[in-house]
């Protein structure tokens, strides 16, 4: 009975399009003009989104149902590419790796970046030098730095060897050749590269917080850590959201680090979806399979993000109605 009532309510509510039209038509000329001006300013955005992004996704979707090799073909094969995808051990392993890598990478970057930003914000000496030290990994091409990390993590002549020579003959740190642990080495190297940027973004956000708040908190005698947890973190909300999205996109597209550090190895143990897609796009001359892979990747991202966005937009709509 309740379900019918709710259903009736939504039925009787004017559709979104009706509401939009009505709003536009009842706008005063000045307001209408303003809406148009903002839309005109968004023209580059609209054209990019529609042509470049939406267009490409639709094209990719189309290709994933064909048997295209180097060039697009118009021979449709239904779900064959997707079947092949999910029969493929390498692809399934890459998805697993991505999930594990994603959680660890985002968590580590957030925590490390936040701590670095907070500590640097404490009016320390040589702040400029420290900031550059934490940011420089981001400036360097991973093709070379990835190789350095491979050397460092190599049991033969890297950290394991160095510590052993310092007098600890049983020390082992050979994750990079271990099938189960190799993904953690990718985490270490990419956290090294990205935390500096997280620190920079959070620092920009921290620097935007009014000095008055600190003064007031000091006067009220609130301990510093409480200020951070209860006041600063909520105020940094939008910045943290930005950082999270940036890190998430980096996770989904992780490629350079895997290629230069492990080449997806040992064997295929550190395979990631972006590398699988790339290999099939170019090396294997199979753009249909690669497109199927990217569609699955995109859908997975959508599936993860959609509930979160939906909850946020409902909360906002409730806010606006209140």
């Amino acid at each position: 009975m309740c379900r019918w009532k709710k259903y009736k309510r939504t039925l009787l509510q004017p559709s979104r399009i009706e509401t939009a039209l009505r709003t536009v038509m009842t706008l005063k000329p000045k307001q209408l003009f303003r809406q148009l001006v903002s839309w005109a300013a968004l023209l580059p955005l609209a054209s990019t989104v529609l042509v470049a992004y939406l267009g490409t996704v639709l094209w990719s979707l189309n290709i994933s149902f064909t048997n295209s090799r180097t060039f697009p073909s118009d021979q449709y094969v239904g779900w064959a590419q997707y079947q092949r995808l999910f029969d493929n051990d390498r692809w399934l392993l890459s998805l697993q790796n991505l999930a594990l890598y994603g959680v660890l990478f985002i968590a580590a970057c957030m925590v490390l970046g936040f701590l670095l930003a907070v500590f640097i914000d404490q009016k320390v000496m040589a702040e400029g030098a420290l900031r550059t030290v934490f940011l420089y990994p981001y400036a360097m091409s991973f093709v070379a730095t990835g190789l350095v990390w491979q050397w460092l993590l190599n049991p033969g002549n890297g950290i394991q060897q160095a510590v052993r020579q310092m007098g600890y003959p049983d020390f082992t740190f050979d994750w990079i050749i271990d099938q189960d642990m190799v993904i953690y080495t990718i985490v270490i190297a990419t956290v090294w590269q990205a935390s500096g940027l997280v620190m920079a973004l959070l620092l920009a956000g921290l620097r935007g917080i009014d000095e008055e708040i600190w003064k007031a908190a000091r006067i009220d005698g609130i301990p510093t850590w409480r200020v951070y947890v209860s006041i600063v973190l909520p105020m940094l909300g939008p910045t943290i959201a930005t950082v999270f999205v940036l890190l998430f996109t980096a996770v989904v597209k992780v490629f350079d680090s895997v290629v230069s550090m492990t080449q997806g190895g040992p064997g295929t143990a550190s395979e990631v979806p972006a590398k699988f897609i790339m290999d099939h796009l170019f090396g294997r001359a199979n753009i249909a399979l690669a497109s199927a892979g990217s569609m699955v990747l995109l859908l997975t991202v959508l599936a993860l993000v959609a509930p979160f966005l939906y909850a946020r937009s409902r909360a906002r709509r409730r806010e606006e109605q209140a």
Partner: protein, 408 residues
Amino acid sequence: MKLKLLTLALSTGFAALAHAAGPKAEVIHWWTSGGESAAVKTFSDAYNAAGGVWVDTAISIGDQARSVAVNRIIGGNPPTAAQFNTSKQFLDLVEQGMLNNVDDVALRDGWDKFLPEPVLNVVRVKGHFYAAPVNIHMPTWFWYSKAAFKKAGIAAEPRTMDELFAVLDKLKAAGLIPLAHGGQPWQESIVFTAVLANLGGADLYLKVLRDRDAKAIQGDAFKNVLLTFKRLQAYVDKAAPGRNWNDATALLITGKAGVQIMGDWTKGEFAQAKQLPGRDYGCIAGFGPKSPYIIQGDVFVFPKTTNAEAIKAQKMMAGLMLAPTTQVEFSIRKGSIPVRTDVDVSRMDICAQQGLAIMKDKSRQLGNGEVYLNPDQNGSLSDILTAYWNKNVPVEKVQKDIASALKN
């Protein structure tokens, strides 16, 4: 001010001269290291000397260079020539009608008379010649460090697969790394190809890779090949995964390892360290007097164009690249052997001379995997092999997987 006018006049003059020069050819290739650069310079020098203008567009890594070439063709700005491998990589381009053929040059110079059969079958598609082959590399040479052999007390080169294992055991006993290897999929494929060719023999090799005969793949002979391949893994040191091939060669150079199975480009690495074949290191092409010589190589394709200048440039290039003198000069610097055996080999190193001598025997000419398989099949095979090398997979499952990967 006067100086500016003078420079302007001079540069316009030079520009006019340059314009009056021969056909311009923009060439995409992936030869970017020092040794490769010296090699490709023989082509560009020959082309420039014949009156043309070589415009170089080098892009590291084969996959990327080929992808750029394809994208440029699609985008309407094709290069005059683009490098591909002696393989099926450019078949899709032929199918779509995106390449010019060089039949005139091929017929004039008699390519079908001197090109080895595997190479000829790759560049001649449906009766037309779509690619100019420029070299032959052999990926499965057995290299060994003379210093390491001496330390392990090994007096003679191994002449069979069993003797190879005996040698590896001796190296292990002497505390050296028996087999220097870099744990990357393409390197594992090389080791596999070496075992298939030397242990399985030419017949089995062709049945599996060229004919994709499911019965042969599931058979006992192939099972033995796979087991021997896996057996070699025990002689590789623990730090091998991910290692670059040149770091593995470095182990031979510094005498820390005994044997490496790698292509003839390894000679460049030894040369960098000032080591000489015969004195510091040895090269074994295969085991037995009839061991196959595996052929892989590079070719240049000529994107479709109706521009008369460009067509002239393409034909000029195709002719020059296969000329006997250019072939020798190029191969000396590249570490490969020429695509024709009717050349003067006296200036080539002893390993290359060995290779050319073997090539004279047509029955020993076998193509690399990519000569017979398309890139997708070749890649799938590589995936299965590297998984088998690194993990404990039952050999029957490997046979089944290979059969189904090569089926289509």
